[in-house]
Amino acid sequence: MITLQKELVHVGGVTLDNHLILAAGVLGTTGASLFRMLRQGAGGVVTKSIGPNPKEGHAGPCLVPLERGLLNAMGLPNPSKNFLQELEPLAGKPVVVSIFGGKPDEFRTVASWFEGVAAGYELNLSCPHAEGYGAAIGSDPAMVRACTEEVAAFGMPTWVKLTPNVTDIGTIGRAAEEGGATALVAINTVRAMRIAIDLRRPVLGNRFGGLSGAMIFPIALRCVYDLYEACSIPIIGCGGVSSAADVIEMMMAGASAVQIGSAVYDDSSVFGSIADVLYSTDGVSASGIVGCAHE
């Protein structure tokens, strides 16, 4: 398999130690767990999505492992502004703060807390299971643009994370780009559910949830490919990445870097495991393969 040069990576204004980023909401509630992922080989980390008020999240079950995937409806639990203290030990590290809100000014409020603290922002416009948040606003191009503008106004790197649960992800990507996004992250989880037949009820406390992990990789890849054709800012591929080959495949579809979440379920040191295979001294520069499957 083709391998990459290990190099500093600049994506949408953020400088990462390599191409592998911890995805939002996975081991991202505490500074210590984020730090652990950096130590284990992540080139950057995205925090749990932080909102305008502390939230406990949905009642359980909020996560169910499936074959080759996870189904979750955490419900955006977060300590809100108190999250600042978690980031203290991480000063200077490539930590991107994920933000959610219900209106553009809520995004601005939350972003303001982390000005100068975070290496950049990621707007969660894509969580499929939080009434009034995430995908609820992320499927409306005007809202996407408005929220992005509020946060981009801080002049810090502003990634926008998109939902696959729309008719045309390219339209949403363009709205984010017009709003001043410096990079797009695709994708958040795919709307899904399961029912426990012996109990005759949905297995998640929230009934619905989002699917992640290997089973959504072909869906995520397609979204990245579409965005690469529709937009001109860098794309960060996310969804089911669990091997070095997946990273290369995402890059060929158009991703400049990737995020990894659910794969920590099968291998808690997945960042190191992937990096060991992905990088070698005779590897190519990522720029040589990003988007090459479009030729």
């Binding site: 749990k48 079950p61 169910v64 979750n72 639990p77």
Partner: protein, 251 residues
């Protein structure tokens, strides 16, 4: 997907604690736990008190619902999860309150030499009769209604030669466990302690980060719930924990 089990037996342990036996035995290591889905309410972590049992103390909504279940009720079980205890040599087990649950299967499989069981009062001692048969049992009650009058640490200080044990397995209220860790540490044997910890758990499988501990980011659900004393001695253990939203609160 959770395994749906049917409750086949409900045993009163104390006024606020019941043991539920279900129609399915899981393959467990003592100290492993499961996520118990109480339909319509929540999913909460519970130690296995035997391969087909959980022992539940009422503290809030989910546990209230659990101890109110009758025979024939169905609940969901995800597990076994976590690492469990790894006893070696001579084993001392120390339990406070419902903390006896994950230690009980260790005693049942014959691994425990000495067992210190604590509770607030005699009526709240759990599994005392069978622990008496299985181990050299020492009891402590806060009010002195049985055994040593005081905490389990009192028994430790007065009746136990700590250094004669190779493994000390502990589960109970965090301040109790902290007191024991301090003693082990003073004796220079923190690494012989195996502490079954509690943190707020949502996923139970090392993904969500809800149960991560400072400063190493160890997940109680996956790296634990059992940690050796040296793993946690310089940690948040004994000082703070996080709630469902991730906000810190003193323990």
């Amino acid at each position: 997907m959770p395994v749906v089990v049917t409750v086949v037996e409900v045993m009163d342990e104390t006024p606020t604690v019941k043991t539920l036996r279900f129609d399915r035995k899981f393959t467990i290591l003592p100290g492993q736990f499961c996520m118990v889905w109480v339909p319509g309410i929540d999913e909460v972590p519970m130690g296995f008190s035997s391969p087909d049992m959980i022992t539940v103390q009422r503290v809030g909504e989910a546990t209230q619902a659990l101890i109110s279940l009758s025979i024939g009720s169905k609940i969901g079980i995800r597990g076994p999860l976590g690492n469990g205890f790894s006893p070696q040599g001579r084993v001392l087990a120390i339990a406070g309150g419902v903390g006896v649950a994950p230690l009980y299967p260790l005693a049942v499989n014959g691994s425990v030499d000495t067992f210190i069981l604590g509770a607030r009062t005699e009526a709240e001692l759990i599994f005392a009769d069978s622990l008496m048969d299985l181990t050299d049992l020492k009891i402590a009650t806060d009010d002195g209604t049985a055994g040593h009058h005081g905490f389990v640490t009192g028994v430790l200080d007065e009746q136990i030669d700590l250094l004669s044990y190779d493994t000390i397995c502990v589960c109970g209220p965090e301040m109790m466990m902290k007191g024991i860790l301090n003693r082990l540490s003073d004796a220079g044997i923190a690494d012989r302690g195996q502490f079954s910890l509690h943190r707020y758990m949502k996923c139970g499988v090392g993904v969500c980060g809800s149960c991560a501990m400072d400063p190493d980011g160890l997940c109680v659900c996956r790296d634990g719930p059992v940690f050796t004393g040296d793993q946690i001695i310089n940690s948040e253990f004994g000082s703070y924990a996080r709630d469902a939203s991730g906000q810190r609160k003193r323990v």
